[in-house]
């Protein structure tokens, strides 16, 4: 059926170009969609389902060795909700996410406006630099940053010494707060290029006539920014802000690698590393699944608006 549907034999009469739907093609879309569906169900759907089920079970070390998991209903969720450690981690993740996303968008907007205000050469230099930072693989970026903040002979402490801070031999990864600040700086450094270039692309869509008219009417630079430019690029800003919120909530690699490089794991966990530690570290798959479900729900809640706006574009 597939082959006849997608490729009728050459002897078949030439189809009429005006015919809206050919009966033979009725099942074609189903066959075309099938591979994606099978793949997504196998690699993502099944794990999500397993996770939902497991989040209602006691699934610890004993189950790893073959004991059947015990059905515990909402017990995992109950112990999560009453676990102060989880709320500390949820709170830390949300604060980290908000700080990173808001600073990323603020800096990105600033750089986009800067690109719009400078000479062609200046803009090109800035764009190339941003693209370089954006293109770096996350793990390679992390090796460079751990080298820069390395306490023995990293560049950061040397620079701080030069400007008069007594930072020699100071390990920034040992204290939770400075650890998270380092992580936030790295995350913002990685994310700004996408935001800046997207907002700049939005700026270039503005018609010069509108800006010129505003200027003739006597609107100065600030007024034009406040009343004309920002409202017109607001849709782009809100979408990149949303994407940043989603991405910064799930930040894992940066935190994990900084922990590897000598950070204190227990006091620096965000949701992602906490789930990892619960699952592969402590072997408590029931609790890990419950936290994962919580994280999925948080993400879907934040993504909903973005997905809806993309669907609108589609129809």
């Amino acid at each position: 059926m597939t082959s006849t549907a997608t490729a009728p034999p050459e002897t078949a009469p030439a189809p009429e170009p005006t015919a809206p739907a050919r009966p033979a093609r009725r099942h074609t879309p189903a066959w075309l969609v099938l591979p994606s569906l099978v793949l997504l169900v196998a690699a993502l759907g099944y794990p999500v389902g397993w996770q939902v089920v497991t989040s209602f079970q006691h699934f610890g070390m004993m189950q790893q060795f073959g004991q059947p998991p015990e059905w515990v209903g909402l017990a995992n969720y109950a112990s999560l909700v009453t676990d102060p450690e989880l709320w500390v981690i949820v709170g830390r993740s949300i604060v980290f996410c908000l700080v990173c996303a808001l600073s990323t968008v603020a800096i990105g907007l600033g750089l986009a406006l800067l690109m719009g205000a400078v000479s062609r050469a200046g803009r090109l230099v800035l764009q190339v630099a941003l693209l370089l930072a954006w293109a770096m693989p996350v793990v390679a970026s992390m090796t460079v940053w751990t080298w820069i903040v390395n306490w023995r002979n990293g560049l950061l402490n040397w620079v701080l010494e030069r400007v008069g801070v007594d930072a020699q031999g100071h390990n920034w990864l040992v204290e939770p707060l400075s650890f998270l600040v380092v992580a936030a700086v790295i995350v913002v450094w990685m994310s700004v290029p996408f935001v800046a270039l997207s907002i700049y692309a939005g700026l270039t869509q503005l018609s010069p006539e509108v800006l010129e008219a505003a200027e003739i009417d006597g609107a100065g630079g600030w007024k034009r920014l406040r009343h004309i430019i920002l409202p017109l690029v607001a849709p782009v800003i809100s979408i990149v802000l949303l994407l940043q919120l989603i991405w910064d909530l799930r930040v894992f690699t940066q935190i994990k690698l900084l922990q590897d490089a000598g950070g204190v794991a227990n006091e620096t966990h965000l949701l992602g590393t906490y789930i990892y530690q619960l699952g592969t570290g402590a072997g408590d798959f029931g609790m890990a699944s419950a936290v994962s479900i919580l994280m999925l729900l948080l993400t879907v809640a934040v993504s909903w608006y973005y997905v809806r706006s993309l669907m609108k574009e589609e129809s």
Partner: protein
């Protein structure tokens, strides 16, 4: 379009041009700050251990050598990780292109029942964090005996990139008018031939862009690999690089070698990325501003 914030007319040209020069200097300084870590990686890659351990940083790679790169390419662990990364990436790229192409064809050329739900599912799935799923994926892979398996990892990667590649290809397929194909069929070509000779070449840029996107994801991915590639023998390149970071916590690290290794991993990515960058950001924020 270069002067969005600058004066739109030439009335204030002198004041405007001074302002612009100042801002250009600011832009160049920001550019230097942003590109610095990338420069620092390449610079350190050329320097030897003694130079890097001195109390004063060396900002230019004068007197440097390719020794660190030679060491990286002579490392059996690197060669093995390179092989595994290449295999996983190739399988992912090939599978993602084929599967996503079929899916894109379905949603852009056909109106069928469930089409809207399919698109909605794609977009939602694309948002699912790997970090919220990896425990379950680990259990699934271990129960079918596919931990440390190249195909298993490629399967997870393909599923992760297919939603976005379908979405990206949809635009390309929709951009080729059906009339072109039909005109060719009127001229006597079969549907298949019309598709292969007319539509397919026009889609080539889209297929390349999706392939590069899949390449970047599979080549750079860390989280899922960390969970399902548990043995040292089956490390991908990012996991192999992570080994250096871990080692730096406890002992003196040869940063020159680490930076050379990072450079080797990053260079193909940077090249490919520059090829496809515009497509990817358009796909994500596409349609937000209607010009």
């Amino acid at each position: 379009m270069s002067r969005i914030l600058g004066p739109a007319s030439s009335r204030h040209s002198t004041r405007g041009s001074t302002r612009r020069s100042v801002l250009t200097v600011v832009a160049v300084l920001v550019a230097l700050v942003w590109a610095f870590p990338v420069y620092w990686m390449v610079n350190s890659a050329f320097l030897d251990k003694v130079t890097l351990q001195s109390s004063t940083p060396t900002f230019l790679p004068f007197g440097g050598s390719f020794d660190n790169f030679a060491t990286v390419f002579g490392d059996a662990g690197f060669i093995r990780a390179l092989g595994i990364s290449l295999a996983v990436t190739l399988v992912t790229v090939a599978a993602a292109i084929v599967i996503a192409f079929l899916g894109a064809l379905a949603i852009s050329r056909f109106r069928f029942r469930g089409r809207r739900s399919f698109i909605l599912a794609l977009l939602l799935i694309q948002m699912l964090p790997a970090e919220g799923l990896f425990i379950a994926q680990y259990k699934m892979m271990s129960s079918v005996g596919m931990l440390n398996n190249v195909l298993g990892l490629a399967l997870l990667y393909t599923a992760a990139v297919v939603p976005f590649t379908v979405w990206m290809l949809r635009g390309f397929v929709a951009g080729v008018p059906v009339e072109l194909e039909e005109a060719a069929m009127v001229d006597g070509l079969s549907r298949t031939k019309a598709f292969l000779r007319i539509t397919f070449p026009l889609l080539a840029p889209g297929l390349v862009a999706s392939g590069v996107y899949a390449f970047l994801q599979a080549w750079n991915e860390f989280t899922v690999a960390l969970v399902v590639m548990t043995e040292e023998q089956s490390r991908t390149l990012p996991l192999w690089l992570r080994g250096f970071v871990q080692a730096s916590a406890t002992r003196e690290t040869d940063w020159g070698q680490v930076m050379a290794a990072s450079t080797v991993v990053a260079v193909p990515v940077i090249i490919f990325f520059l090829v496809v960058q515009g497509r990817m950001s358009n796909g994500l924020v596409g349609g937000a501003v209607k010009g």
